[in-house]
């Protein structure tokens, strides 16, 4: 039986066990091939030379990878993102990574015509926007370039740890 003392002392170590669970999940990574596909897609959604920083500059794919494997992220959505990337790979018989900009545009617009494709692109877009505009502590929004491009800032105080890991 738990004594009142252990009950209370366990209450006092708020969050510690959560942190270790997160650390554990952070070690997981996307298979390289899927990472490359997602990177290629995100680079197409946020290319160089627009009013926004490019996906490669704001760190979209590393953010996406860390986010998908974090314990706070919905596991069904994670699986959906992986499934969509595989589907895109298979539809293009492994050639997607060699596509030029025009071919990439066609591939993604074609994918958008399917129900799964439009949902998947929307989800990858949401993850990319999270990378663009979340606090840089999460690894995206490099040098606050996302905020600067939109003439905005995050609120104050800024987070000092990811996901309120107190």
């Amino acid at each position: 039986m738990t004594t009142r003392r252990t009950f209370l002392s366990a209450s006092a170590v708020v969050g510690l066990s959560l942190v270790s669970a997160k650390e554990e999940s952070r070690q997981r990574e996307l298979p390289q091939e899927l990472y490359n596909i997602l990177q290629k897609v995100q680079n197409h959604l946020f290319p160089k030379g627009t009013l926004l920083p490019s996906a490669s500059l704001f760190g979209a794919t590393d953010f996406l990878q860390e986010t998908l494997y974090h314990s706070s992220y919905d596991r069904d959505i994670r699986n959906f993102v992986l499934r969509g990337a595989k589907e895109l790979r298979d539809t293009h018989k492994g050639e997607l990574l060699n596509y030029n900009e025009e071919q990439m545009e066609k591939a993604l617009r074609d994918f958008e015509e399917t129900k799964m494709g439009s949902n998947w692109l929307s989800r990858v877009m949401i993850l990319s926007i999270e990378a663009l505009l979340s606090d840089p502590i999460y690894g995206g929004n490099f040098q606050e370039l996302g905020w600067k491009a939109l003439e905005t800032t995050g609120g104050s105080p800024r987070p000092t740890s990811r996901y309120v890991a107190l």
Binding site: M1, T2, R4, T6, F7, L8, A10, S11, V13, V14, G15, S17, H44, L45, F46, P47, G49, T50, L51, L52, S72, Y73, D74, R75, L108, E112, S118, L121, S122, M125, I126, I129, E130, L132, L133, S134, D135, Y138, G146, W147, A149, L150, E151, T152, G154, G155, S156, P157, R158, P159, T160, R162, Y163, V164, L166
Partner: protein, 560 residues
């Protein structure tokens, strides 16, 4: 053995904190059991990803969830919230959802306490008068105003609830330049603009510092102490009395009872999953309305086979929400003088305006009718959600240059204003909480099943008000004006489920929010409300919980 505690309160939100405050100040020993963790004032940040886009201050939906039943094409369809992502958790940390509220607070009107008597019955709705009058609650509205620190300005209006004090304890918070345009436009239309009472300090008060207009208020904890959360206004001073034991990560899964009284609560530590039982003289439920009913139903035993305090069969019934509809419009840089647009873009200041002109309607929908309140505010300033909302054009996902243009222009060339309508959500037989006995949460409790239905009358009231609001926005010169009405309820403003009343056969609680069946059990959150008025609930929740605190003190003093 003497009980260690005079009272055990389950849930540390708006209602639980207010009861704890009253009892601790009066010298009683209280255990406040909160399933979430403590986030201190100085630990809150404006982390959009954590607070607004992940389940960080609410349970993971795979561990704890609800089942929602909605009528689709004539049939009731069940969807667990882990599938839909439509979470009915609102803030599970010390202080509850009150940490995260926007703090726009309103008193209910005296008519709201006698809706059936004043406005009559409506077919298909279970309208009942309250067991107390506005006059009985008024002193507690005033007490809450003082303790929570509600800023505002007393302004005359025929539909405003009367006050017993001259003015608010603090002047209103600072306002955006848009209020001048708003006031001018309302006056041109013969509408009376009113300053919104806000649970936000405009000046320092003791340990709590004035609002610094952080630009991110609703959905975020406050790091200055300005927001009148239960944690700041009640739990901190209750802790200072030395009479409060705050037990975090303590999830109550069941109440044990005899025929006549509750004896113990079963508590699971959410970190170790160890469980234990705690006892006290008095037990108070303050889990937020839908969850208090769920706990009572989950506490069925041989003495109370239908669930605790449920001899009437009314637990979970007549759930209501504070809702109506919403709408808005946009101001564009290109259509305004540079200086006016720039003033509009000043960050952090509140719109602080509400309208009561359509709260009571004469000769409308065929007679004297209850209408509703309207609150005006800027679009939430969250960067990620604002950016996400620009991603489509004609159902086609934008990307590349097009997306960058759309996002940039939305952020820098326009400012959106919104309105929210609050009118009565009429209680019906088709809006209630029961147990989903097929589904259990992480702690082995049956999941709460919410059947949701809005009475068609609510929609017609909201529609008429929305039209008036659109006129105000037109007069202001806003563009792209819209309103959207739906009977989808907001999950953060829930009441009902344990109605109070005088008849134990038809109500769960007596007028003091004390269980008819087990006299040492009180329900202090919004569960007691038979109707909800046409306002957001929280001022009423605070006021009533302070009243319940006083009633419990009388019971402990054997005066009741």
């Amino acid at each position: 053995m003497r009980d260690k505690y005079d009272a055990i309160i389950v849930g540390s939100g708006a209602s639980g904190g207010a009861v704890a405050y009253q009892l601790c100040k009066a010298g009683y020993r209280v255990a406040l059991l909160e399933k979430g963790r403590l986030i201190r004032r100085e630990e809150f940040s404006k982390d959009e990803l954590a607070y607004c886009r992940r389940d960080i201050v609410t349970p993971n939906l795979f561990d704890e969830y609800h089942t929602i039943e909605e009528k689709i094409d004539g049939a009731w369809v069940e969807t667990p919230t882990f599938e839909s992502g439509w979470s009915f958790w609102n803030g599970n940390i010390v202080g509850g959802s009150s940490n995260l509220m926007s703090g726009m607070l309103h008193r209910m009107h005296p008519d709201d306490f006698r809706l059936k008597t004043v406005y009559g019955e409506i077919e298909g709705a279970n309208i009942e008068d309250w067991a107390i009058s506005y006059e009985e609650l008024e002193p507690y509205y005033t007490l809450a105003e003082e303790l929570v620190g509600i800023s505002g300005k007393a302004q005359p209006h025929p539909y405003k609830a009367p006050r017993s004090t001259k003015d608010f304890p603090q002047a209103p918070t600072q306002e955006s330049a848009i209020t001048k345009l708003f006031d001018r436009s309302c006056k041109a239309l013969g509408v009376t603009p009113l300053i919104t009472p806000r649970a936000v300090l405009s000046q320092d008060r003791g340990e709590r510092l004035a609002c610094y207009y952080s630009n991110f208020c609703g959905s975020y904890g406050c790091s200055s102490g300005a927001k009148g959360s239960s944690r700041e206004a009640f739990i901190a001073p209750a802790l200072a009395t030395g009479n409060l034991t705050l037990l975090t990560n303590s999830h109550v899964t069941k109440l044990h009872s005899t025929q006549k009284e509750v004896t113990e609560v079963e508590v699971v530590n959410t970190l170790t999953l160890a469980s234990q039982k705690l006892s006290a003289k008095i037990f108070v439920l303050a889990l937020q309305a839908h969850e208090s009913s769920r706990l009572l139903l989950n506490s069925a035993n041989k003495f109370h086979p239908q669930g605790l305090s449920n001899s009437s069969g009314e637990v979970g019934k007549n759930l209501i929400f504070s809702a109506g509809g919403a709408g808005g419009g946009t101001f564009y840089r290109k259509s305004m003088k540079k200086k006016d647009f720039e003033a509009l873009m000043q960050r952090g200041l509140f719109v602080n305006r509400s309208l009561l002109d359509w709260y009571i309607q004469k000769n409308w929908l065929g007679g004297k009718e209850k209408g509703g309140l309207v609150e005006f505010m800027f679009e939430h300033q969250n960067n990620i959600s604002r950016a996400i909302s620009t991603r489509y054009s004609n159902s086609r996902l934008l990307w590349g240059k097009e997306l960058a243009q759309a996002m940039h222009s939305s952020f820098t060339q326009s400012k959106k204003i919104r309105f929210e309508i609050f009118n009565d959500w009429l209680p019906t037989d088709d809006c209630f909480l029961s147990l989903d006995t097929k589904r259990k949460d992480k702690y082995g409790m049956s999941v709460g099943k919410l059947r949701i239905h809005g009475h068609p009358h609510d929609m017609s009231v909201a529609k008429s008000i929305a039209k008036e609001c659109e006129k105000v926005l037109q007069e202001m010169g806003a563009e792209d004006i819209y309103s959207s009405l739906s009977s989808t309820p907001p999950q953060n403003l829930i009441a009902g489920g344990c109605r109070f009343g005088d008849d134990p056969k038809r109500a769960v609680l007596n007028k003091n929010c004390q269980s008819f069946d087990t006299a040492n059990l009180f329900v202090a959150d919004a569960s007691f409300m038979p109707t909800g008025g046409s306002t957001p609930y929280t001022w009423t929740i605070y006021a009533n919980a302070l009243r319940v605190g006083d009633m419990i003190i009388k019971v402990l003093q054997r005066k009741l």
